[in-house]
């Protein structure tokens, strides 16, 4: 299981990453994350909607209501240019964190 803070910090970049592959809706986003992580990233399902709403207010994504094939209304979210820029800066941030973390987690090489 992940810590709450890490979960909270990673929610927005992961959503942006998923939407960078194409438009999607809330339920499906959650299912994708769950399936990929084998359940290790387990979001409280209702929690995603306030986050999505806030991201829309921040102009990272935009949404449209669409009637789906099973005649049920769904809100589809699409990433904006600003969202892509945010994603790339998040990515480089996370990579740097990852690099530092793995580097220092290794035992220090012995001095020659």
């Amino acid at each position: 299981m992940m810590s709450r803070t890490l979960m909270a910090a990673s929610t927005r970049p992961i959503i942006l990453a998923i939407l960078s592959r194409g438009e999607d809706y809330g339920y499906n986003i959650i299912q994708k994350v769950k399936a990929f992580s084998n359940g290790t990233i387990d979001w409280t399902e209702g929690m995603i909607y306030p986050v999505l709403q806030r991201m829309e207010v921040d102009s990272l994504i935009i949404s449209t209501w669409t009637m789906s094939a099973d005649r049920r209304p769904r809100r589809y979210f699409r990433i904006t240019d600003r969202g892509r820029a945010e994603l790339s800066s998040e990515l480089s941030g996370w990579r740097n964190v990852w690099k530092a973390l793995t580097h220092f987690a290794e035992p220090e090489p012995a001095a020659k």
Binding site: Y25, G26, Y27, N28, Q31, T44, E45, G46, M47, Y49, P50, V51, L52, Q53, R54, R72, P73, R74, R75
Partner: protein, 906 residues
């Protein structure tokens, strides 16, 4: 059977009750829920289980809401957007508008409410002014905290006799020998010198002699001249502004000369600002203490206590240490006096018992009286006089009472009116007001109304100030209304009153449930009713208390006025003899007696209405040598009892036929034989040694009041001033023939001018002095009367408002009763009964309180009236009557309304 759609509908509805969710968000949730349910059904879940699982996965409404709140927090104070702002400036305007509209729409009610409160506050403020003035005495000296007056407790058989005077020698000795004492000054009134400047001649009674340190120690600002050197020479005089103007007008007085008693020229060296009214040192001019030598004073004397000694201590001096040093010094001086008589001293030293007794009795116990306490706590006598401080606290209490009564009115009316405001509160709550906001609104309204009342009160105080000054004998000016202390006090009174009187409506009304209110069911119910009853009881209890207090004070005053003082004070005058006129006393007496309009003439050494000298030194045969008694002493001329018309109980009066009377005869009052353990008749002829006269008691006079009527009559011995030890006659006492007082006075004046041509004629009626004794009591009486009337008026104003409110509430009941045949008187009784009950309860509480308080108050009088039982029912009945008249007026109006109108009401 489980209905999925219905369950989803209910689930949605529950979300909608929460302020955090908007419809769009709920649609998101619904879509998500349905997707989850579909997925679960595919896994084989039944409808109901799928729904429950999906809802559980969504999370609880509360936690969802808080997530929604987090992402929407834009405000700086992290306030969630669906919560109302803590402070809405726009609402303030509305609150103010509503409050002012209330004042305007309910004019009568507002008048009663605000007017009553203003009256109460004005009264409290006046009393506050008075208290502040009393407390301000002598605090204007820059060094007030380190200034003290030396006072003494003299020890004797009958207790400690406290005096505030000291011998001449003490001041310089204290300064020389006690390092903690930075400066010391003597202060002695020099009687009433005749002051001459060219053509201007007046007797002045405000001259005092002081040491040069006086002007350094006390803060009396100089207008002209140099204070530090002004009193250096024995022939200098420092005038106050008014006296300087009186003698020199616009001319520069510095360097000019005044002649005192036609003999001593003194030069003006400085002019001081007039002495402030709140100074307990009240002089018009100062001369050097050296001047007293010319009048025959011995400045090194340690025997006689007659002058004030003030000291200034170094900061941080320990008072007990200084006191101990002073006592040691005084004891040393007394012992040194004894050592002069060497044989006697040896005897005393050899006998430890006598030495011990000496320490115990002879050397007085010196005390340091802070100068700031002199006005309120200064006293002379066996028991500390707490009259001033008691009066002060009594009036402070009365001020608080009246304010309390006015506050209670305010609260009562406000709570009574509250039902009418329930709808407003309900509506405010429906559109989003919170309890705190509503409480704030009520507090605000109450502070606003109290503020209005406060402003009116200040205006009222300004108007009443001249009247107040004349009643209270103060010189409080309009300027003192703007002093920081008064403004702060007035502000404190206003805010406190606002908060206290706003509390009940604010706390109770704000708790109303909007749904109940809008359905018309809310009221503060039994609780408010009960509170109102208690408040009315307190109000009337206090009013009755004041009524009884007023009656007892008036009766006591009447009692003292009617009390026989022991001599006939009517048609009796006295003439102060000053300077040379003393020598002419015999000639004056002879001349006056030759006029048939004059019945008798005698002379006294002390002011005949105030014989203040006394001594511990009386002895007689078979007196217990271990006990000492304080006996008042006076020297008089022949014809003393005859002129004063003092009744003789035994023996005879002074007589020229007995040659030895001038040197040995004593007249005593009835208290002296009692002290000696004898009756009046057997005291006559007994040896009596007093005032250095080895004499005989020749007669016993009936006890008479030779001091204020407030005080008990102490033992008094009188000898003739003609003897070698006698004091000179300083006052001529003249009895005029009744019938033609102006004619008799003219005769006295012409007699005076014939003998003392160059001295102004001056006299006083005994009646005048007598009236003066009662001035303080009369003042107390007037203030008590005014406050009792005010209390009743304010309480009735409140009752009037309350009764009108009750009548209004019972409009329908009254209508129905009238339709069914009730008579108007019957209805009045119905409405008044309730109030009568409360006023009766108030009586039950006020009576014992009044009894104990007034019994305590009467203790300060040596001669006091009883507290008549009928005062209590009378005051109670009076209060009840006034209350009933107030209520009946309203009740009658209600009872006379047309029942049809009453029933159409609402």
């Amino acid at each position: 059977m489980f209905d999925l759609e219905k369950s989803i509908h209910v689930w949605k509805k529950k979300l909608r009750t929460h302020e955090a969710f908007e419809d769009g968000m709920i649609a998101d949730f619904e879509a998500h829920l349905r997707d989850t349910i579909d997925a679960l059904k595919k896994e084989g879940f039944a409808d109901e289980d799928a729904f429950r699982e999906a809802a559980a996965r969504m999370g609880a409404a509360e936690s969802l809401a808080s997530e929604c709140g987090k992402v929407r927090e834009y405000a700086l104070d992290l306030r969630s957007p669906w919560r109302p702002a803590r402070f809405m400036p726009a609402l303030l305007g509305n609150y103010l508008k509503v409050a002012l509209r209330k004042v305007r729409r309910q004019k009568g009610y507002s008048f009663i409410n605000i007017g009553g409160l203003a009256l109460g506050m004005a009264c409290a403020m006046l009393i506050l002014l008075w208290v502040l003035d009393e407390l301000s005495y002598d605090r204007f000296h820059a060094d007030a905290k380190s200034l003290f007056r030396i006072e003494q407790d003299q020890k004797g058989g009958s207790g400690k006799f406290h005096i505030d005077v000291t011998p001449f020698g003490m001041g310089p000795a204290l300064k020389a020998e006690i390092p903690e004492i930075r400066e010391a000054t003597r202060y002695v009134r020099i009687g009433t010198p005749l002051v001459r400047q060219g053509e201007k001649i007046f007797f002045e009674n405000g001259f005092a002699a002081v040491d040069p340190a006086f002007l350094r120690m006390f803060t009396f600002p100089t207008l002209q001249g140099d204070a530090s050197t002004a009193l250096a020479g024995p022939a200098s005089v420092v005038l106050t502004e008014d006296v300087a103007n009186k003698y020199f007008g616009a001319d520069n007085p510095i360097g000019r000369t005044l002649i005192l008693n036609d003999r001593y020229p003194v030069t003006v060296t400085a002019v001081l600002k007039n002495i402030p009214a709140n100074s307990s040192l009240t002089f018009k001019a100062l001369v050097s203490v050296e001047f007293m030598k010319k009048l025959g004073a011995n400045l090194d004397d340690w025997q006689n206590n007659g002058i004030f000694t003030f000291v200034r201590l170094h900061e941080k001096s320990s008072l007990p240490a200084v006191k101990a040093k002073i006592n040691r010094l005084v004891l040393d001086r007394h012992l040194a006096g004894l050592r002069g008589d060497e044989d006697n001293w040896k005897k005393i030293q050899a006998d430890p018992q006598r030495l011990e007794q000496y320490h115990r009795y002879v050397a007085p116990d010196c005390l340091l009286m802070p100068i700031v306490d002199i006005h309120l706590f200064g006293f002379i006598g066996f028991n500390p006089s707490l009259q001033r401080i008691r009066t002060l606290s009594a009036f402070a209490a009365i001020g608080l009472f009246i304010l309390l009564i006015a506050c209670i009115n305010f609260m009562n009316l406000a709570t009574a009116r509250s039902a009418g405001r329930a709808r407003e509160i309900g509506l405010r709550k429906v559109v989003g007001a919170r309890r705190r906001g509503i409480a704030g609104q009520f507090y605000g309204e109450s502070v606003l109304a109290v503020g209005l009342a406060g402003l009116s009160a200040v205006a009222l105080v300004g108007l009443l100030l001249p009247l107040f000054d004349s009643v209270a004998g103060k010189t409080v000016t309009i300027a003192s209304l703007f002093g920081a202390k008064f403004l702060f006090g007035a502000l404190a009174v206003t805010v406190l009153t606002g908060i206290v009187s706003g509390s009940y409506p604010a706390l109770v009304l704000s708790a109303f449930q909007p749904i109940e209110v809008l359905k018309g069911r809310a009221s503060d119910g039994a609780r408010g009713d009960f509170l109102r009853k208690i408040l009315v009881v307190i109000q009337f209890g206090l009013s009755i208390l004041l009524l009884i207090g007023m009656a007892v004070a008036a009766r006591q005053l009447e009692f003292m006025r009617a009390k026989k003082i022991g001599y006939d004070k009517d048609q009796l005058i006295y003439l102060p003899l000053r300077g040379e006129t003393r020598k002419n006393y015999a000639a004056l007496k002879e001349r006056l007696l030759s006029d048939p309009k004059i019945q008798g003439v005698t002379g006294t050494a002390q002011q005949p209405t105030e014989i203040g000298s006394n001594s511990w030194e009386a002895t007689w045969d078979r007196k217990d040598p271990d006990r000492r008694f304080l006996i008042s002493c006076e020297f008089v001329d022949y014809d003393y009892p005859e002129t004063m018309k003092i009744e003789m109980v035994a023996g005879r009066t002074f007589s020229r036929e007995h040659a030895t009377d001038a040197t040995t005869a004593f007249l005593v009052n009835e208290s002296v034989p009692k002290l000696m353990g004898l009756d009046a008749v057997s005291a006559v002829g007994r040896r009596f040694h007093f005032m250095d006269i080895d004499g005989i008691i020749v007669g016993v006079m009936k006890d008479f009041h030779y001091l204020s009527v407030h005080e008990a009559i102490d033992p008094l011995a009188v000898a003739l001033s003609a003897g070698p030890q006698g004091w000179p006659v300083n006052y001529a006492v003249v009895r005029l023939k009744a019938g033609d007082i102006p004619g008799a006075l003219a005769a006295v004046k012409s007699g005076w001018l014939a003998v003392n041509a160059q001295y102004p004629f001056d006299f006083r009626f005994f009646d005048q002095d007598f009236d003066q004794m009662f001035r303080a009591d009369e003042r107390t009486g007037i203030i008590l009367k005014a406050s009792a009337v005010l209390a009743i008026v304010i309480a009735c104003l409140g009752l009037f408002g309350l009764a009108s409110f009750m009548a209004e509430q019972k409009t329908r009941e009254i209508g129905v009763r009238k339709v069914l045949g009730a008579s108007a008187p019957g209805l009045v009784v119905l409405l008044s009964k309730e109030f009568a009950k409360w006023v009766l309860v108030a009586n039950a509480l006020a009576w014992p309180a009044a009894y104990f308080i007034m019994r305590g108050w009467l203790q300060q009088f040596a001669y006091r009236t009883n507290i008549a039982w009928w005062l209590f029912p009378a005051a109670g009945a009076g209060a009840l009557l006034i209350a009933m008249m107030t209520v009946s007026f309203q009740a009658l109006r209600a009872a006379q309304t047309d029942p049809v109108k009453a029933l159409k009401y609402e």
